[in-house]
Point group: C2
Chain length 250, copies 2
């Protein structure tokens, strides 16, 4: 944990927080900090700062936050669409999205998504929270990605997608695809404030799906000469978008 | 498994192979294939092809390879240097390297590497093999990355590094670093046939280490505005190198 993520339910005073779960254990056993030491903290969807340990018992740690940074580190806007992956993969995708500052994650039904994935407990946001928080903690971020599950493929792309985000008219829609040889720079627009990237299921999208997405302005690109797992495709896509954004700023 | 990886120990004839481990289970339970069906196979460090199932019992599957492709898919050369990560992370790094076609992986000692990691069973190549094979199987590749463990930081960089690979005089040496704002394109050379990327430990390299690497020609770049885990940094770095290579070819 690079940042101990705190929530309102941990709060016991204006700047006091009590932790009694794995975070307390982490502070004691991994960070090896005790009373009087400081740790880096972040309020969920709020500022980061530092906190002094005022109590460290066998089952709880009490913190007094003594310094807040005004600014939550800005991360460029990016939204991700993923065909709903198997639960074990979804855990990794959730962590990655939080760690890499994804604004929203849309988990959609697709032809090659097994129906049973939609009855996984991980569909519920309270069950996603631990993985998201772990990602924020690793990435030193506090802004929780918005995660939405979309049960209807066509309705999501045709009706719901146009309404998300504040600047969709300016958004660049991208589609990772093994069926094209165009690298990302061929479809990347300089200055697109908002980027949406779609990642398919294991086995890929079916032609109906890619055709519908392309008719809605999604531009296909290849991540490279690989066959990747979903969680690796997510990381690779975010890394390539970031590289092109950094290149444009220079 | 996108490719069932076969080894010489599985061979029972010129083109016959018998599997009795998790690959047999995977063919039956996940791929749901039986006698007469075909599966995609690859010989470790050899060709890929297809095989017909000639027997499918409760605990073994027999295959008869009936078609070989002459050519193992070429993957651009890349070597990776990683500060030896914790065992759980190393498993992921091994899988990723095999899946993404890394030629060699050098696991080195560094100041912030815990000494105990060098006594992990995963230091031994026979214990690495399952993770590498799983990666090849996912990536549809057959060439096993060469994995070497280097117990001395300075000796590795000063004495051993210059001798690995066949074209080190032409090699581009790169160093992921949070201490620079230069994106990868700023340090990437058009036409470098061989690329070596170094990824630090959790907590990063210490100044002595980066200074030594930079004195040996390693050029520092940032993956982006993130704090990533080692396994994500590996994927992100490989993805960014691949993007620049694809851009140069176009």
């Amino acid at each position: 944990m690079n940042l101990i993520i705190l929530t309102e339910t941990d709060r016991v005073g204006e700047n006091g927080f009590v932790l009694s779960d794995h975070r307390a254990e982490h502070i004691r056993a991994v960070l090896k900090r005790g009373v009087g030491d400081s740790v880096s903290v972040g309020i969920l969807n709020g500022p980061t700062g530092s906190a002094k340990i005022t109590r460290a018992g066998s089952d709880l740690v009490q913190l007094e936050c003594d310094q807040w940074s005004e600014i939550v580190p800005p991360i460029p806007e990016i939204d991700l669409i993923c065909a709903l992956p198997r639960p074990q993969t979804l855990k990794k995708v959730l962590l990655t999205c939080a760690m890499m500052g994804v604004r929203s994650l849309h988990l959609v039904r697709a032809n090659r998504v097994e129906k049973s994935y939609f009855s996984s407990p991980l569909i519920l946001s309270e069950n996603q929270l631990p993985y998201l928080t772990e990602g924020l903690s690793q990435g030193k971020l506090t802004r929780l990605p918005q995660v939405q599950v979309h049960d209807k493929f066509r309705r999501f792309f045709e009706d719901e997608l146009p309404t998300f985000g504040s600047d969709t008219s300016e958004s660049l829609r991208l589609l990772c695809s093994p069926d094209t040889e165009a690298p990302l720079d061929k479809v990347f627009s300089a200055g697109a404030a908002q980027v949406v990237v779609a990642i398919g299921p294991e086995g890929g999208w079916v032609p109906f799906e890619t055709e519908l997405m392309q008719s809605l302005g999604f531009r296909a690109f290849t991540l490279g000469r690989w066959t990747l797992r979903v969680e690796h495709a997510v990381t690779a896509a975010l890394a390539q978008v970031e590289l092109l954004r950094l290149m444009q700023q220079a």
